[in-house]
């Protein structure tokens, strides 16, 4: 083994050890120190981040990508499952970013959850989640990826239902598990197909053995898995419901790391995807539909966390669109930049929520720019990065995606949807800032507003730096694997910017209407559609389980009984014998004529039989 791959593997093993040590020491019966969360958990993640920079710098300096297969786990004659770590371009860049964001979130969580009696358990759950995520990202075979996949799903369930005394939180956690399970059906289908047809779960073998096969079925399975995990349209309601969990959970799981696992799976499988135009078109159209639908839903929400959740869902749709364009590297770039500004948006929301004594409704906020200037400035920076303001982090990924979309020979409908969703992004971002930071306070004066706490300020500051320079850093250091098309008419080049600015102007106009006397007759239908989330949860959450349960009940109690009793059992005997019995007893009425007729007929038949 060369020294580079040895270094990379050792770094990852050190990272795993660093992250598992705080978790494992909590198994001891001795109670933790009161500041265990800050001194042990956060420090572990911080150290792990700095160590993960080592493989990153090796990769950037040498272009070294390694695959380390370290432990034979379950090996039969023809099928091997090993512990296999892949340090390619994607995992080497993602791991430091995930650790950096988690470090900031853990530091913030030590302030946010300080009044929680089980804060140590919270941090333990977050650490287990992080370990599962890194297992997922560095997996070189489907089995290890599946372990990470299920791990993040379970930790998501436990963390969303953190306040388990609240019925809504339990419902949301269950929703997350069930929707993810539907996606897992797709993943397991793909894994089974690959085990049967490609005879391997290692990625290299799969890519090599699949050259001339028709991969539509496993790719559909993988797309279903991504739909479930990354909240694409059809399996999306769990993501806004997941806001029942504490804000650090929303910031870590449901914006930066867990929800991108589905997209990451598709990026990993991109050599398989790029040969199948049908699968790419499905990704494109599904992503376009998701991004527009969730952006529409975000326009009229009043809970600040729900707006940011729908914003996450919209950006995930955009990532799916990028995969549909056959540009996995751009999708990955958007994952990385999105992690920074979305986590920061969530942390700023959490800071504002706590400052206003757990008020989450933006209609009851206002004027925060004077009261928490740092937080609202970072909210603004995060929103600017989200809308793709030139040269902030989001610009490098989002603008590149929209340029690739504009210059590709494809579906104009998907293009229109994505551009409209981009303008909606500007609209709801401005709505958040208008209601939260601008204007005058709409809450009671006695609020525990104090952002002057380094535990709050430093994480947000770190993520703000990330939101500003991450895009530039990543694009300058990574060479593009696909040639970007740089030649296009000026209108196409500026399309994203024009659409965003027009969205901004529309939003400003709408916001200014709130202070005028002119009140037109409201058109309620679009508002209701948007506010009730397209009526999707209303229709599906009651209807589908009811139909399934009713079908099950009918089968179990009625159909089976009916079959065994009436069609094949005693009653069947009865009903098949009845015509015979009726005929026979109708014939034997006591009439001599009938008997005589029968006697003569049988005599004739016997005579005929004897003659022949």
């Amino acid at each position: 083994m060369t020294s580079t791959s040895l270094t990379m593997a050792s770094s990852l093993i050190i990272i795993f050890t660093l992250l598992s040590y705080p978790v494992l020491t909590t198994l001891a019966p001795k109670p933790r120190r009161p500041d265990w969360a800050l001194s042990h958990a956060k420090t572990a993640v911080k150290l792990a981040f700095f160590i993960s920079l080592l493989p990153l710098f090796l990769f950037l300096n040498e272009g070294a990508e390694t695959i380390v297969t370290s432990w034979s786990w379950m090996n039969t004659g023809t099928f091997d499952i090993n512990i296999s770590l892949k340090f390619d371009h994607y995992s080497t860049i993602f791991t430091p970013i995930a650790l950096y964001v988690t470090w900031s979130i853990l530091e913030f969580a030590s302030w946010y959850m300080h009044s929680d009696p089980h804060m140590n358990r919270f941090f333990k759950y977050l650490l287990i989640f992080l370990i599962a995520m890194i297992v997922l990202v560095t997996a070189n075979n489907m089995f290890q990826l599946f372990i990470g996949w299920e791990g993040v799903g379970i930790m998501s369930f436990l963390l969303i239902g953190w306040w388990h005394g609240r019925a809504d939180a339990n419902t949301a956690a269950l929703q997350a598990v069930v929707y993810n399970r539907v996606g897992d059906i797709g993943l397991i289908l793909a894994m089974a197909w690959m085990a049967m047809n490609l005879n391997s779960w290692e990625m290299q073998q799969m890519f090599a053995a699949s050259k001339n096969l028709d991969l539509t079925l496993p790719l559909l399975g993988l797309i279903l898995a991504a739909t479930g995990k990354s909240a694409q349209f059809g399996l999306h309601p769990w993501l806004p419901s997941a806001m029942e969990g504490p804000t650090p959970v929303s910031a870590l799981l449901h914006s930066s790391t867990m929800v991108v696992a589905g997209i990451f799976l598709l990026i990993r499988m991109s050599p398989l995807l790029e040969t199948n135009p049908a699968a790419l078109t499905i990704c494109l159209c599904l992503g376009a539909l998701t991004t527009l639908f969730t952006a529409t839903c975000a326009l009229t929400q009043n809970d600040i966390k729900k707006i940011v959740a729908f914003s996450t869902s919209s950006q995930l749709g955009l990532m799916m669109v990028t995969i549909g364009l056959n540009q996995p590297q751009l999708a990955f770039l958007h994952i990385c930049t999105h992690a920074f500004f979305k986590a920061m948006l969530f942390l700023c929301s959490g800071s504002i929520i706590h400052s206003l004594n757990d008020e989450q409704d933006i209609r009851k906020m206002g004027g925060m720019h004077h009261l928490t200037p740092f937080t609202s400035s970072c909210l603004t920076i995060g929103s600017l990065a989200l809308t793709g303001t030139p040269f902030l982090a989001g610009f490098f990924s989002k603008d590149a995606i929209i340029e690739a979309l504009n210059t590709s020979h494809l579906n104009a409908w998907a293009l229109t949807m994505t551009l409209i969703a981009t303008s909606f992004t500007a609209i709801y971002s401005l709505r958040v800032i208008f209601f939260v930071s601008m204007g005058f306070p709409r809450f009671n004066p006695l609020s525990p507003i104090n952002e002057n706490n380094p535990t709050v300020i430093n994480p947000i500051k770190r993520l703000a730096w990330g939101s500003i320079i991450a895009g530039l850093l990543i694009t300058s250091n990574i060479s593009p694997l696909k040639t970007p098309v740089m030649t296009m008419p000026p209108l196409l080049k500026l399309a994203a910017l024009i659409v965003t600015i027009s969205g901004l102007l529309i939003a400003l106009e709408l916001a200014s209407l709130t202070s005028m006397q002119y009140k037109p007759t409201p058109r309620l239908t679009p508002h209701h559609f948007s506010n009730m989330l397209g009526f999707f949860p209303t229709l599906i959450h009651r209807l589908t389980p009811k139909l399934n349960l009713a079908l099950g009940q009918m089968i179990a109690s009625q159909t089976i009984d009916q079959t065994w009793l009436e069609k094949t059992g005693p009653k069947a005997t009865f009903s098949s014998n009845l015509p015979l019995i009726t005929t026979t007893s109708n014939a034997q009425q006591g009439f001599i004529k009938t008997y005589l007729t029968l006697f003569l007929m049988s005599l004739i038949i016997a005579a005929l039989a004897f003659i022949d």
């Binding site: 300058s476 250091n477 060479s479 098309v485 740089m486 030649t487």
Partner: protein, 130 residues
Amino acid sequence: QRVNLSGVMGAHLVRRYVTEPDTEPDPARKYEFDPQFGFPERKEREMVASQEQMNLAQLPLEQRDYCAQYLLKLMKCKRDNWPNFLACKHERHDWDYCEHQDYVMRMKEYERERRLQLRKKRIEAQAEAA
């Protein structure tokens, strides 16, 4: 009464589907006319980067085009200048300009095919009228 669509964005789509669907070339298919037709002498383009060079750099298949030599120079510059990631602007511009010229060349080929198709149609119309 012909609408002058030249210079309008999306004009090729309008021509292709609405106004001139039978003469507008399809970029996904091979062009009908001989590349040499109408030119006194025209050489085929040659790759400057050799296959061994591209193999050594492990270039993906899509990036092995006629501008690969600039990409190889860019990759070399980036490797040599790291950690100064702001260094290779000139090489990046060279590669981008070569790709831009390649794109313009493709646009010109498309336009040539379109005009030859229109010319063919005109000649056929004249032959029929005569």
